[in-house]
């Protein structure tokens, strides 16, 4: 969805369309998060009238899918891969291995026993 994309390119890592898309989703979610939380509060609040809560439910489901946190997926910043990404290093397992063997990751060393 190009309307969520940054007007000026703002990424400093490996870039492909999937990374750009994921980055746009992250920014869209950040912008819409207070609204989402407000709607979620109204929905969960049983002291409010049923009609208000139903309307809030509808509004939340009708928000754009890019503002949904479940759309966000951690991707490898070195290769853009979406699977096998180590959360602590933001890298796919292969890139992590290569960087670790090259000594670019402080504190990481190959174990052998």
């Amino acid at each position: 969805m190009s309307m969520f994309r940054a007007k000026k390119f703002d990424l400093g890592c490996f870039t492909n369309i999937k990374i750009i898309r994921d980055h746009s989703k992250r920014k869209a979610f950040e912008a819409a998060e207070p609204e989402r939380q407000a709607l979620r509060y109204i929905i969960r609040n049983t002291t409010l009238p049923l009609r208000t809560r139903a309307i809030a439910q509808l509004q939340l489901t009708q928000m754009h899918c890019y503002t949904r946190p479940t759309q966000i997926r951690n991707r490898c910043v070195l290769g853009g891969k979406g699977r096998g990404v180590l959360r602590a290093f933001k890298m796919s397992r292969y890139n992590f291995r290569m960087e670790a063997l090259a000594g670019n990751l402080p504190g990481v060393k190959k174990a052998s026993w």
Binding site: D10, R26, E30, Q37, I43, R44, N45, T47, K90
Partner: protein
Amino acid sequence: MSVPRARLLQLMEARCKLFETTFNPEGIRAGNKILRQRLKGPALAGYYPRRIWTMQEFQAEFRDLHLMVDDEKELDRFEHVSLLKARGKGAPKKKSGPPDARKKK
């Protein structure tokens, strides 16, 4: 020795007042747990490293000091393009004027 419920409620109310939590003895679902959650948007949006500067901006920083910064990637590209052109494999010339209407059929 048992403590009456009213007394316990008083204690709870005082505790809620002191620690600024909501007093809800009946356990009604008021959605307060949503309000208590922290916003995670900034942390999520900061996952990918942002671009700090472009080569042009970097060169502009040094222009006032009369220093030249070579953009090696760009120079390599120019060299590649000039080699292509020398072999006659460069990009075609830009068209001038509107496209011919009759030719298109």
